[in-house]
Each structure stands twice: as structure tokens, then as C-alpha cells.
Amino acid sequence: MALPAAAGQSLMMATTTSTANTGLLDELIVPEFQKETGIEIKFIAVGTGKALKMAENCDVDVVLVHAPAAEQVYVNSGVLMDRTQLMYNDFVIIGPDSDPAGIKGMKVVDAMKTIAGKNAFFASRGDNSGTNKKEISLWKAAGLAVPDKADYYVQTGQGMIATITVAEEKGAYTMTDRGTYIKYAHNHDGNPALKILVEGDEVLFNQYSALAVNPAKCPDVQYDLAKKFIAWMASPATQKKIGEFKLLGKVLFTPNAGK
């Protein structure tokens, strides 16, 4: 089992923690893809930032990530190609039920300003992941500097669920993707301590895309398999299954390939 599978049989993918932690890959994508094509997916769940770096180092064949601006940088530099958008969910700002800063129902920009103005605890992943990049862009959109050294700004350097747990312990606000939030709620039998306070703003849209590593940059890369995987992900049958993948009766990712 330590030996690599026969050539053409296994695809190396770097992806974000949200697709792995929610069970989407283990429970749906990996087994279905193997059943239909015989190709095994070996995935490494890291933040989007690291996933893109792994692609740059030629260590993976394909990436499944969610940071369109960062993806574009790698496409421009020729590391990645065939960017295909596959599905989306959205980000939400969650916090204690008591809502100490009073941000419930606000626009995102106002909520960020209020949190900073009242020095309310805010937990950030601080790990350069897609979610972290999004959160940083929200501070900027609110016309604020990222409160890097502020006492109320807690940077965990960990994955999303671990960061939500830190936020829960500290009574802090945090920003998460909805899929991971549903998973967190599921872990707490549908009654989590942190509630969704801000949602629905269009800046909170969260697009997931797959990109193949460019064989011109990385000669050993399995470009054919990567292309096959991306096409399979975008196919109507797979898209339908992604849309039916639920936890607590809630859809985690909404398919939108070709739209």
C-alpha cells in the first residue's frame, strides 16, 4: 500500500479543508469517481494558499480551491490552466447568540466596522486559506486595515472548524463558509453555540473551481487524468449529486458548472 498505484490509476489533488471536512470528497466525489472511471483520487486537504503552492511545485495534478483572485494569478503565470467553476456556497458571519456587538442583520461592511469599533473578539484563521483571504478582503472592503495586532483579533492558524471552536470558547465572531457551518451545527446536534448573524450579502459569494496543473511547466504531471476529473466534476450527473449532498437536510454546495 506504500507503493504508488500503476501509472494512470491515481490522481493527486490538493484541495481546501472545507471540501474535506464536510465529507463531500470522502463520501461522494472520491468513491463515485473511482466507481465510474477506475481512477483513484488521492487528496491532500490544506488551505487554498498551500494547495496553489503545491501546484506550483509540481507536487499535485489538480487543485480544487476557492479563491478566484489568487487562482487568476497562477493561471496568468502559467502554472495552472483549464479553470472550471464547479459549485458555490456562501460565507456567513457567525457569533454568540447574545451578539455582544449587535451586528445581527447588518450589511457585511457595517458589521466589520462595528466589530472593530467595539473591539469585539473576532477569530480569524490567519492561515492564508481561501476563507482567510476572503475575510481579509472584507476588512479592506470596510475601509479598515486588517487588525493584525489588535487584542480582539484572534488568529488561530488552524482549519475552519478548529477556528469556530476557538471562537466558541472565546465568545468571538468569525467568518466561515456555510458548508462548514452546517457541519459544525451537525456536530452539536443542530444546536450550536454560535449562530449565523450576517448572511446574504453578495460579497459573501464563495466560488469553488478546479484547475489542472500545466504540463508545460510540470512535465511529470498527469494532465489527462486531471482533465478527465474536471470534466467529470462539471458533468450534469455529478453536478446533480453535488446538489443533493446534504447535512441536517441542508445543501452544502450548490452546483454551477457552465453558468
Binding site: M1, K42, D59
Partner: protein, 230 residues
């Protein structure tokens, strides 16, 4: 608190019901740590032996360096090995990144200083009369080596146990070099990191218990060997 109890309960469930994911992680752990400890012993004992019996200039400095390596952080080893094994790195062509042998390479770097240092100390602390006695008895160099090793066998076993303990419980190298790939390079420690990341604390605790059971089994095995050797 009940996730602790829940974890205990789940540990036995996972083991008794033969959960394939758990057993895959157990197999990976045993496989990779066995490779690492074998490589560490094969390389480390002769080097430690050499260091223990010989006196040479700069020996003190070498020992200090070695003792520093005893506290080499596993994440730093992970980082170094990753950099070397990456396709962009000097050893990228070996294709060892994200494989168990790759992880074993890193873990060997972790175990090696422990084996070398403890072997050297063991050899140094043997009865000083052993060597002259063996010479007067007309022992060949080979016989001297085996006799000395035999005298030091308990200390060597202790060195092996100490190294194994560090190797089997290490997460930094396994995570960075192995990539925590399900069915392939997911070990018990990286599985614990993953489950905790998912908020599945009970499963994490269960796997922790499984790891302790594996360590216990190895210890009992070594104790049995020791008993037979006396």
C-alpha cells in the same frame, strides 16, 4: 466531558468491529514506524558504536551536536524533507513525496540521533576492563564487536524503545511529507489531527486510545523478547 467517555466507547467499537479506516491507519502507522526504526537501528548502532569506542579530536563537539539533534523538532524535519522530496527539490525524481517511505525517511532522521547518542553512551559506560579482557582472550575484532554489543543489549533495547516512542507518536513529518492521504499515508496521528479539525473529538480520542494500545502491544512484545534473552 461526555465526549471523553464517548471516545472510550468508540475506541473499542472501532477496534472490535474492524473499522476499515481505523485499521488502514493502524497498518500505515505500524508499517511506517517499523521501516523508520529498522533504518534508524541499522545506521545508528554502528555509528553510535564507533563514536563510543573511539577517541578523536572534535569528539566533544560532535557529541554536543548530536545531543542538540535529539531535540530536532518534527515540523522542522518535515519541512526539510518536504523541500528535498518536492518535485522542485533535489530528490524530487525519487517520487517519495506523499508516500510512506518518504515519511519513513523523515522519521529515520528523527530516530537516528537518539539511537546514535544512546548507543555511544551505552558503549562508553561499559566496564573499562571489557576491552583488555577480550584482547587477552584473543578475540578477533568481529568477536569483540559482538561481545560488546551483547553486553550493551539492554541499553540498546532502551534506545530502540525511546526512538520508537518518538517515531510512532510524531505528527509533523507524517502530515507534511505524507499528506494525510486516506487509505495510503493516513497514520493514526494524522487521522487524530484531521478528526479534531473536523470537530469530531470523540473519534480523535478513540484513535488516541488505539495508538496507545499499539504502543502497549509493541512494549509487551519487546518485554517478552527481553525475557527470552535472559
Amino acid at each position: 466531558m461526555d465526549y471523553l467517555l464517548h471516545g472510550f466507547f468508540q475506541a473499542f467499537q472501532l477496534l472490535v468491529q474492524g473499522d476499515p479506516e481505523t485499521y488502514s491507519a493502524v497498518t500505515a502507522t505500524v508499517l511506517v514506524s517499523s521501516m523508520s526504526i529498522c533504518a534508524s537501528l541499522t545506521l545508528g548502532i554502528p555509528l553510535g558504536f564507533f563514536l563510543g569506542i573511539n577517541d578523536f579530536r572534535g569528539k566533544k563537539i560532535l557529541r554536543t551536536l548530536l545531543d542538540t539533534l535529539l531535540s530536532f523538532p518534527t515540523v522542522v524535519i518535515g519541512l526539510l524533507v518536504y523541500a528535498f522530496l518536492s518535485k522542485r527539490g533535489p530528490l524530487g525524481d525519487l517520487g517519495l513525496l506523499f508516500t510512506l517511505p518518504g515519511v519513513a525517511l523523515g522519521q529515520t532522521l528523527l530516530g537516528l540521533p537518539i539511537i546514535i547518542a544512546m548507543t555511544a553512551t551505552a558503549v562508553e559506560s561499559l566496564d573499562k576492563r571489557l576491552r583488555p579482557t577480550l584482547i587477552t582472550l584473543g578475540a578477533t575484532p568481529g568477536q569483540m564487536l559482538s561481545a560488546t554489543l551483547l553486553e550493551a543489549r539492554y541499553s540498546l533495547m532502551l534506545a530502540a524503545m525511546a526512538a520508537y516512542g518518538r517515531i510512532v507518536s510524531e505528527v509533523g513529518i507524517s502530515m507534511m511529507v505524507g499528506g494525510n492521504i486516506k487509505w495510503h499515508t493516513r497514520t493514526i496521528t494524522t487521522a487524530i489531527a484531521l478528526e479534531t479539525g473536523k470537530g469530531e473529538f470523540a473519534v480523535g480520542i478513540a484513535l488516541g486510545i488505539v495508538l496507545m494500545i499499539v504502543a502497549l502491544a509493541v512494549n509487551i512484545g519487546v518485554a517478552a523478547l527481553k525475557k527470552r534473552a535472559t
